[in-house]
């Protein structure tokens, strides 16, 4: 039975999970949730995620939400197929992956997400991007990226010399970020830039990126 993923192709959190599913070469069905109609804030979707956010996953009887938990589940369930994303054969490597997954969650995401919101979501609410919020968060993100620049000068990927779920978690929000005037934060750090070019060119992400067209004309 195929997995069902409830979400939207242009949503970065849904894309996070889809990238993982592609890396694991696992079939799934994307069931569209109409964000503009507010479908995610009503029943029946609220029964899948009481916080009213996409994505949500159904795998037989199991129902999950939170994109990072869903991706971790997929990576664990299908650990023997596709790319090794979680380094399950080494407790220490697996722990390093978890450190940098948490860094994405606790350091990177809180700085990059408000910038994405200002450029892509605020205009939908009829507002211009708030420069003060953008400036505050580019400063925060710059400091985080300085740490990344140092780490990626020592290892090829975040958790070590191997691609992992920690790198994957950064893809979808960074993809949108690179379409903003703030992209220079990535481009002016050579190790970060090389890392970004590497991870964003992976076929599994390319499949997902083509549908991530939020904010483009006609969408």
């Amino acid at each position: 039975m195929a997995l069902k993923l409830y979400g939207a192709a242009l949503s970065p959190c849904t894309s996070r999970v889809m990238t993982c599913l592609h890396e694991k070469e696992t079939d799934f069905e994307l069931v569209p949730v109409d964000l503009f109609a507010g479908e995610h804030k009503q029943l029946p979707f609220l029964a899948k995620n009481p916080f009213g956010q996409i994505p949500a996953l159904e795998d037989g009887d199991l129902s999950l939400f939170e994109s990072r938990a869903i991706a971790a589940y997929v990576a664990e369930k299908f650990k023997e197929t596709g790319s090794d994303l979680i380094r399950h054969q080494s407790l220490k490597e697996a722990a390093e992956v978890k450190v940098w997954m948490e860094v994405e969650s606790q350091q990177y995401h809180p700085a990059i997400s408000p910038i994405i919101f200002q450029f892509f979501a605020a205009p939908l609410q009829g507002k211009a991007p708030d420069q003060a919020i953008i400036d505050e968060n580019t400063e925060k993100l710059g400091k985080v990226l300085d740490v990344y620049e140092d780490k990626l000068g020592r290892t090829k990927y975040l958790a070590g010399d191997f691609y992992s779920l920690a790198d994957l978690f950064h893809l979808s929000f960074t993809y949108y970020f690179m379409k903003t005037p703030c992209a220079h934060l990535i481009n002016e750090r050579p190790h970060v830039k090389a890392w970004w070019e590497d991870i964003s060119s992976r076929p599994a992400f390319q499949k997902v990126a083509s549908a991530m067209n939020f904010g483009e004309k006609g969408n």
């Binding site: 009481p50 916080f51 199991l62 999950l64 939400f65 939170e66 990072r68 938990a69 869903i70 971790a72 589940y73 664990e76 369930k77 407790l91 220490k92 697996a94 722990a95 390093e96 978890k98 450190v99 997954m101 948490e102 860094v103 969650s105 606790q106 350091q107 809180p110 985080v144 740490v147 140092d150 780490k151």
Partner: protein
Amino acid sequence: MVVKVYGPIKAACPQRVLSCLLEKDVDFQILHIDLDAGDHKKPDFLLHQPFGQVPAIEDGDFKLFESRAIIRYYASKYENRGPNLLGNTLEERALVDQWLEVEAHNFNDLVYNLVLQLVILPRMGKQGDSALALTCQQKLEKVFDIYEQRLSASAYLSGDSFTLADLSHQPGIRYLVEDAGMGHLVSQRKHVNAWWDTISNRPAWKKLMELASC
């Protein structure tokens, strides 16, 4: 071998780690970091944690940071010792992960900002932003409503046993109830109240509170 934990015992994120180590009966040594003196931003400490935050751990040669990664590591390393904090099946583990993510993304920021405005800034002699505190409180009410609904269906967040998902909430809820005057968020919700009562009376947590009060 004793695990070295860098951080002040009274801070929330080190407490998350210490609660887990106590549950698993792992010996540790606390290396105090003076946040008021800015020790966590100094070059020595940045070698342990490049983002300048507590906690960080050293277990022999092995170093880790990010409290939620540390607890996942120890819950896994000592899976067969003490309570099972991870879940047994793949599905149970996924639910533990889900509620850990909820704590990280739907709960933590609100508690952090509320406590910063109502407790931390005033302690430093600064003015807290009461409008921001109110907004956080109102959002937390909605989050706790969802927890109330969840906990009416199972004794703990991810199912019928205490796991990392519940443990991860201990330090934040303690701050809300004991320091920020927000106890009503818990006490006015029958199932949340029973859950907090249970998890805050676990011997490991009580031991930590004892150590932290010295």
